[in-house]
């Protein structure tokens, strides 16, 4: 059969050739990633002349004349038309089209044609991730996939913190989606963007039921690039970026500090601390030894710092074997200015180097047996200052850098914070802070820690067709083993602090005296190690066959997973997965999935759970009546799914079903019916393509999460239970009783148009909304005098609470005539915030708190990507934003507790009030003060929109690139977090961050060169 076809084709070509015997045109066809495309149809428009590209994407075709137009078409790609003219070689690049319906979509434990997918899955090609210089591909995901929220919390080089949520939150326990790389649970954030092929998120029960007890929070699935047959394609990229913090605090200068300090003293009826002489020295900055005039934020943080990235990858293969191999290198510098400490010759800078590698092989051993091997990994070397010596709690990035940042924020600009002429650490003891927390000393003199992370992941798979049993049957085994080791070398020391004092013998002189309890010590060595291993085996039997109009597939899979973390008892999962799909005429689709799995942390008899899902789809556009009525509608599919998924992420509580004894007391009472959380999810989706270039997809979902593990306090009378007090849960176990609902929708609109082979526009806009509601968390009703007697039930997770304010107290009369606020703090003074008595009892107390704004986790996420290509130029940008989010302004970056910032200049004072000047901040009171309680004054709208990335590139004409033997040379510049618009009253912190002491988040400007051979 096959041979006959080939012969016919050959004959046809010969016939054509003989008939026209005209000009032969040759060329190659590639995709956007320069991978050769095999099987692309090449046709001369208006004729029957046609051919297909070979495995290397090469073709040869005879054209009748110069007016001939070649049409290149391939499923999943926009057709291209090229007028031949005088060309003898026509190379084209086919671009993925909006009607990429034949494309394979990765689903749990398999792939499906996009047209027949009936689950809520969003997929993106990783090419878009390469348009941004983000050091971590998680950062680049923000706004790309509808339903996925990504918030970057910190920017520590090599240790970025990201929060991922799929469709928001539905539980108070672990909310992290399951993350898979090539089907195995792995963290993808350390991957090089150029080793990634696609990233998908699985959202509804139909998509995630196969992950059973771990699928309820959704799944982020990453697939890596594989080779295509053809001659090797070598791709080299090198990038140089400059990073800078998006936002910095605005600490006032020394002169303003002293003035504001005096203002506080005067307001409190005390004598000013800084006399006119001192003020004048601060203003002029002429006696820095005694009257320092500093700007610590800029003195200790760099304005710009580099990041470098190099990637080399090679892909190719032949008919039996394909390979893709890559090596990537990343260097990230840190924000803090550090100095080598010569005495011990070490480098305390914060920076990271990472090398990623990957080799993915596919081998067809014979016509029925194929195997693949993926080997990848990375080595990361990260360097940080120790910051707080001899304290294990600060070997953690967040803890260590929060001390540095906190100290920088609370060191007034008229303090000493550097070195004496003899090179000793000079400090002014911090008010209220730890005397040892001197940024200079902590960054430069505390030693360093070097963290070396090595990860090797390996996956070996084999697939055997079992046609001899029945056609369409195959079996597959995939085994993975990952090993990660983290070695930390810590060399730390303490340092002696010195204080600058007036020389008693010389009125103009300065002496430096030792202070504090620390002394200069030598470097001491210590080490910390940790080891993680993962073993995963999937064994499956697959069936796929078409009987006339009926498409049937089936899959049954066994999974065994073990993760070893240091010396903990290994984390084990076992389970079975099944899937059956049925399609009729590509019009009516139905699918059943199930996961039957469990883990060791549940009670005996409750270890294994069954998680089914059902889904149906109707491809309306295949119906003749639709085709007739709406010819412009090229594709429309309606799908619906319902199912149950589980979540076993108990926030680290393991073996909570065991009753444990300490001596003869129960120290933990086990919940002998401990189970997973159950999520019931319904989803209805619509996918359309119309007028050729437009697309619109929508999904609406509803989820009800029950069985949520919650403290039993609200259920069990803890006093009568007999294990402790009434108000503490003591040793009573958590129970599966919480209930939360979550609903929302996602909308995606697209427009893709190729105006001609050189001009192409691509717009994709998405928006997603979700809102959850706590139905039951065993909350105990507050007494009747509370305005709101429930603080979580009926509200969104993370609902924030505080007082309602009514402006400032502007006169003594107002204080007298206002409600008594003394119950929540000191008696109010002029300029303090007025709180509203919401329960009408005439006094302001804790009972008067009201819900304020939105949770910190946003309800709305948006993304809008534009790309435009013309001739050799390409331009893209991507806007991303969130809304429906509130943030509580608090802490060192905002309050005057330790330092003054620019905002404080607009604080309430009698002079400002009398002069009618704008007042935007309450009376300054560095001590405790009722005005600093959480209130609607401090909650700010946390919405933001940012130009997440923008890129402009230019691909050199082929004539030029050929001179060095390259097939393509592209120069580009792109940027990350370029502009941010938000509604914060003061822009002292990146809006994505949720704590004022986190390592800053960066913007970056990047220049790159990409060469392909």
């Amino acid at each position: 059969m096959c041979r006959c076809l080939l012969l016919t084709l050959l004959l046809g070509t010969l016939v054509n050739f003989s008939l026209y015997a005209q000009n032969a045109v040759t060329g190659s066809v590639k995709d956007e990633s320069s991978n050769p495309l095999a099987g692309v149809s090449v046709q001369v428009e208006g004729t029957t002349i046609g051919t297909k590209t070979d495995e290397n994407g090469q073709y040869t075709i005879s054209v009748p004349d110069g007016d001939a137009v070649l049409v290149f078409s391939f499923v999943g790609y926009s057709p291209e038309k090229v007028t031949v003219g005088t060309q003898r070689r026509v190379d084209v690049t086919l671009l993925g089209s909006a009607t990429e319906l034949e494309e394979a979509v990765i689903v749990g434990y398999g792939t499906q044609k996009k047209v027949s997918v009936v689950a809520a899955i969003s997929t993106m090609k990783a090419t878009a991730l390469r348009q941004t210089p983000a050091s971590n591909i998680g950062i680049a995901l923000a706004g790309r996939l509808p339903g996925l929220s990504v918030l970057q919390r910190s920017g520590v080089p090599g240790g970025e913190q990201l929060d991922f949520y799929i469709r928001g939150r539905s539980t108070i326990n672990g909310q992290q989606p399951l993350m898979l790389v090539d089907g195995v649970e792995r963290d993808f954030t350390a991957l090089d963007p150029r080793e990634v092929e696609t990233i998908s998120i699985l959202k509804d029960a139909s998509a995630t039921a196969v992950y059973g007890v771990r699928g309820a929070n959704g799944v982020i699935m990453v697939t890596t690039r594989r080779g295509h047959s053809g001659k090797p394609v070598i791709d080299i990229t090198t990038e140089q970026s400059f990073q800078a913090p998006t936002r910095l605090p605005a600490i006032v200068n020394a002169y303003d500090y002293a003035r504001l300090y005096n203002q506080v003293e005067l307001q409190n009826g005390r004598a000013p601390v800084y006399d006119d002489v001192a003020l004048e020295h601060y203003r002029l900055g002429d006696r820095p030894e005694l009257y320092p005039v500093r700007d610590f934020v800029h003195e200790f943080m760099k304005d710009a710092f580099p990041m470098r990235r190099v990637n080399v990858n090679v892909g190719g293969g032949n008919d039996r074997m394909r390979y893709f191999t890559t090596v990537g290198y990343l260097f990230q510098d840190g924000i803090f200015k550090t100095e080598k400490f010569d005495e011990y010759d070490y480098d305390p800078s914060s920076k990271a180097n990472r090398v990623n590698f990957r080799s993915n092989f596919d081998i067809d051993i014979n016509s029925s047996l194929s195997m693949f091997l993926n080997v990848s990994g990375y080595m990361q070397k990260k360097n940080d200052p120790v910051v707080v010596p001899n304290n294990g709690a600060y070997l953690d990035d967040v803890n260590a850098y929060s001390v540095v940042i906190g100290s920088l924020l609370q060191t007034p600009s008229n303090y000493h914070n550097d070195i004496t002429p003899d090179g000793e650490v000079l400090s002014t003891p911090l008010k209220g802070g730890n005397i040892n927390n001197v940024p200079y000393g902590m960054l430069n003199r505390s030693g360093f820690r070097n963290t070396l992370t090595n990860q090797v992941t390996a996956t070996l798979g084999a697939e055997q067709k079992l046609e001899f049993i029945t056609p369409g049957l195959s079996a597959k085994v995939v085994a993975s083993y990952d090993a990660t080791s983290i070695n930390q070398q810590i060399r730390q020391r303490t340092f002696q602090l010195y204080e600058a004092k007036r020389d008693p013998n010389d009125p103009d002189g300065v002496v430096y005296e030792p202070t504090g309890t620390m002394t200069n010590s030598s470097l001491s060595d210590s080490q910390a190690q940790s080891q993680w291993n993962l073993m995963n085996i999937d064994a499956s039997v697959n069936y796929s066959r078409t009987f006339g109009m009926h498409d049937v597939t089936g899959m049954l899979l066994f999974n065994r997973y073990q993760r070893v973390i240091n010396i903990d008892l290994p984390y084990n999962y076992v389970g079975y997965v099944g899937r059956a799909t049925y399609g009729y005429d590509n019009r009516y689709l139905a699918e059943v999935n199930f996961g039957y799995n469990g883990s060791e942390q549940f009670a005996p008899g409750h270890k294994m759970g069954f998680f089914p899902s059902f889904s149906v789809g109707w491809v309306a556009s295949e119906e003749d009546f639709i085709k007739d009525a709406m010819p412009w509608l090229s594709f429309a599919k309606i799908r619906a799914s319902y199912g149950q998924v589980g979540n076993d992420n108990m926030n680290g509580a393991r073996f909570a079903f065991l009753t444990l004894w300490n001596g003869s007391y129960e120290s933990q009472i086990g919940n002998t019916e401990l189970e997973w959380e159950k999520a019931s999810k319904a989803n209805i989706g619509l996918e359309t393509r119309f007028f050729n270039d437009f697309s619109f997809d929508a999904d609406v979902f509803y989820e009800r999460r029950n069985n949520i593990l919650i403290p039993a306090d609200g259920l069990v009378p803890t006093g009568v239970f007999g294990t402790g007090g009434v108000f503490v849960s003591g040793i009573i176990p958590k129970v599966n009783a919480g209930e939360i609902e979550n609903k929302g929708f996602e909308l995606v609109g697209g427009y893709q148009k190729s105006f001609n082979p050189d001009t192409r526009l691509d717009i994709k806009v998405n928006g997603a909304f979700n809102r959850n509601k706590v139905l039951y968390l065993s909350e105990v009703l507050l007494p009747e005098d509370y305005t709101y007697r429930l603080r979580s039930t009926g509200y969104r997770l993370g609902q924030q609470w505080g007082y309602k304010t009514a402006g400032f107290f502007n006169s003594e009369d107002e204080i007298q005539n206002w409600y008594d606020q003394s119950g929540i703090g000191a008696t109010p003074k002029l300029g303090d915030l007025k709180y509203v008595d919401t329960n009408g009892d005439g006094v302001v107390t804790e009972q008067d708190q009201v819900p304020i704004g939105n949770p910190e986790m946003p309800e709305w996420t948006f993304g809008a990507a534009f790309s435009f290509q013309i001739k050799g130029f390409d331009f893209s940008m991507m806007w991303q934003g969130v809304a429906g989010r509130s943030y509580l302004l608090t802490g060192q970056r905002i309050w005057e507790t330790y330092n003054f910032n620019e905002w404080h200049k607009e604080a309430w004072s009698q002079e400002r009030f009398d002069a009618g000047l704008p007042i935007t901040y309450p009376r300054l009171e560095p001590g405790s003060n009722a005005s600093k309680l959480p209130s609607d004054f401090w909650y700010t709208d946390g919405s933001y929109i940012r130009l997440k990335n923008a890129e402009i590139g230019y691909t050199l004409p082929q004539q030029l690139s050929k001179r060095i033997g390259a097939t393509s040379i592209r120069l580009y510049a792109n940027g990350l977090n370029l502009f941010t618009f938000d509604r914060y009253p003061v822009k002292y912190q990146d809006p994505e961050q949720n704590n004022e002491l986190l390592y800053p988040v960066f913007k970056a400007y990047n220049f790159g060169l990409n060469v392909s051979f």
């Binding site: 065994r560 001596g663 003869s664 259920l715």
Partner: protein, 593 residues
């Protein structure tokens, strides 16, 4: 080929299935599960030992901070704004049990502690039969002990919170029947306790009286004592509004059962103080059960500040704590059996001295002495003005108490501060020893143990029950045993004796107040079960003594403060809100509904 593959697949499937089941059953090593408790002798024995641990060992450690139960009554006043202050302010509410210990975590005391005791006893009862490492004798003994302890904790609950559902097994975390647990009647729970205790007693597993080295452990005498107290309270007006005579009969019989125990006898008045101080290892014939932890720190939190001793440098105490009220002082008879005064009006600040007291020299006039010729127990319990408090350790000169204004223990008019000087003019002396104090912090005191049951209680129980049953002769016979030990005349011989139930009831109640003052929570319970809280707890008074230029003392009775703690809400404490909400069947006491 096909068969090979199929066989291979089947084999793989089996291996996976096996791996599947095995791998999920592992739990971490090195953790103690119940089997490791039951196969270890010490841990098994620990099951009964820990069941004793919820018994309060110090009467000043129930309520913050070192507030004794007496200062929640009209017997004693505690200055400063701690729990007693809050209590009398009327702060008791569903969400504020007041009697707590805010520095501890959790701060709640009584309610969770008693239930914890019940759980620990239930744990012992449940798990001891499963142990493989103890003898049959040990198993039977310890289970019997646990059953008695469970009754003890239920008795505690009864005294504060009223009857509670009888729970015989430790609650499982999956237990969901909370709303089905309903409050029984007092009689139902009392009967259950009685039945349980008689069951243990009749099984003859426990000794009648524990040998000295085991004196902390419960025995039949203790079981009888719990039963008697529970049945007396069951018959009392609060819990027996219909005055069911049968309940009094049971109470009288139960008291008699204790009196019938051969092992106990009253100590003589000369040894009376030995009831409250002295080593645990030295048994006292009258004591049935007492705390086994030395409680002598009570000298530092309640009592006289010996730091003002003029002859040596002695550390000051922390707080004078429970200061006896004038009302308590008035309850002590003269040696001739007469009560010293009658109140002229409801303010209790104007009094008429009874003629028989006046005969013995009682006078509150200037230069008079209201403290001479009083009941012998007065001098043990009440430290008063110009009393010789004894000689501090390692000293030779006696310490003379000066409670008059300006005296070294002088009167304190400020009631809202911690103080070393009494606001009532009196100090508590019952379980206090001056030898706790000595120069430079030296101490020569003996241990102090809180007495849970002593024989005297059961004579007075019997007297009370018989009086209510109309057996006035029998009542007086029992009462006079206690009076005569205190060297007081028989009731029949006291001035103004009337042979009526009312008179005898009043004097029996007065006897209880005097005999057990400053000792435990007798007055607290009695004010409630007799339903006299709203008459007795509205305010308290003290004696403000001034010393004239001529050296003569003037006496002025002074109201210290009004109390809000007299309402019916204070009769039975409410079930704490957090638990009440989860147990809808556990109705609140009437005043709290």
């Amino acid at each position: 080929m096909r068969q090979i593959i199929l066989t291979l697949l089947a084999g793989l499937g089996l291996v996976f299935q096996y791996a599947c089941e095995k791998v999920l059953e592992k739990t971490p090593d090195g953790q103690t599960t119940i089997d490791k408790v039951l196969n270890n002798y010490n841990r098994t024995k620990g099951l009964i030992d820990v069941a004793y641990n919820e018994i309060y060992q110090a009467r000043d450690q129930i309520s913050f901070v070192h507030n004794t139960m007496e200062c929640l009554t009209d017997n004693a006043f505690w200055a400063a704004t701690y729990n007693a202050y809050e209590w009398h302010n009327g702060a008791l509410s569903l969400s504020n049990p007041v009697i707590n210990w805010p520095w501890a975590s959790p701060s709640e005391q009584l309610w969770p502690d008693f239930w914890r005791g019940i759980r620990l006893a239930n744990n012992a009862i449940k798990y001891l039969p499963q142990s493989t490492v103890i003898t049959e004798q040990e198993r039977r003994t310890w289970i019997a002990e646990a059953r008695v302890l469970r009754c003890w904790y239920y008795m505690n609950l009864l005294e504060f919170y009223g009857p509670m559902p009888w729970i015989e097994e430790p609650f499982e975390p999956t237990y969901m029947g909370w709303n089905e647990l309903v409050r029984p009647t007092y009689d139902e729970l009392a009967s259950k306790i009685e039945q349980e205790l008689l069951d243990v007693i009749n099984s003859r597993v426990l000794p009648d009286r524990q040998p000295t080295q085991e004196a902390r452990r419960v025995d039949n005498g203790i079981a009888y004592s719990i039963r008697a107290r529970v049945l007396l309270y069951n018959a009392s007006p609060l819990n027996n509004p219909e005055n069911d005579q049968n309940k009094w009969r049971r109470a009288a019989d139960a008291a008699q059962d204790v009196l019938n125990m051969p092992n106990y006898s009253l100590v003589s008045m000369s040894d009376y103080k030995r009831l409250f101080i002295g080593a645990f290892s030295t048994p006292v014939t009258e004591i049935i059960w007492r705390s086994w932890t030395d409680n002598s720190h009570i000298n530092n939190a309640n009592g006289v500040d010996v730091g003002s001793y003029p002859y040596a440098s002695i550390n000051h105490m922390w707080n004078c704590g429970e200061s006896p009220t004038q009302e308590l002082v008035d309850a002590f008879e003269m040696t001739n059996g007469a009560l010293p005064v009658t109140y002229d009006d409801a303010t209790r600040t104007r009094v008429t001295v009874t003629p028989e007291a006046a005969e013995l020299g009682y006078s509150e006039a200037a230069g008079g002495d209201p403290y001479a010729n009083r009941d012998a127990r007065f001098y043990i319990n009440i430290v008063h003005n110009m009393m010789n408090y004894g000689v501090p350790y390692n000293c030779t000169e006696p310490y003379i108490i000066e409670t008059f204004v300006g005296g070294r223990n002088g009167f304190n008019d400020v009631i809202s501060q911690e103080t070393q000087r009494s606001c009532t003019g009196y100090y508590s002396g019952k379980d206090k020893q001056i030898k706790y104090w000595g120069p430079g912090g030296s101490q020569g005191h003996e241990p102090t143990h809180w007495v849970f049951f002593r024989l005297a209680e059961f004579y007075l129980q019997k007297a009370e029950a018989l009086c209510e049953l109309g057996d006035l002769e029998g009542a007086m016979t029992a009462l006079n045993v206690i009076r005569q030990r205190a060297l007081q005349p028989r009731l029949q011989d006291v001035p103004g004796f009337v042979n009526t139930q009312e008179f005898i009831r009043e004097r029996i109640r007065n006897e209880r107040r005097v005999e057990f003052c400053l000792e435990g929570q007798y007055r607290f319970d009695d004010q409630r079960r007799w339903k006299i809280l709203n008459e007795t707890n509205r305010f308290v008074t003290g004696m403000r003594i001034t010393k004239g230029a001529d050296g003569k003392f003037s006496y002025e009775r002074k109201k210290i403060r009004d109390y809000q703690s007299y309402t019916d809400k204070y009769l039975v404490m409410p079930v704490p809100l957090e638990d009440a909400k989860k147990m809808t069947g556990l109705t609140q006491p009437a005043a709290w509904q």
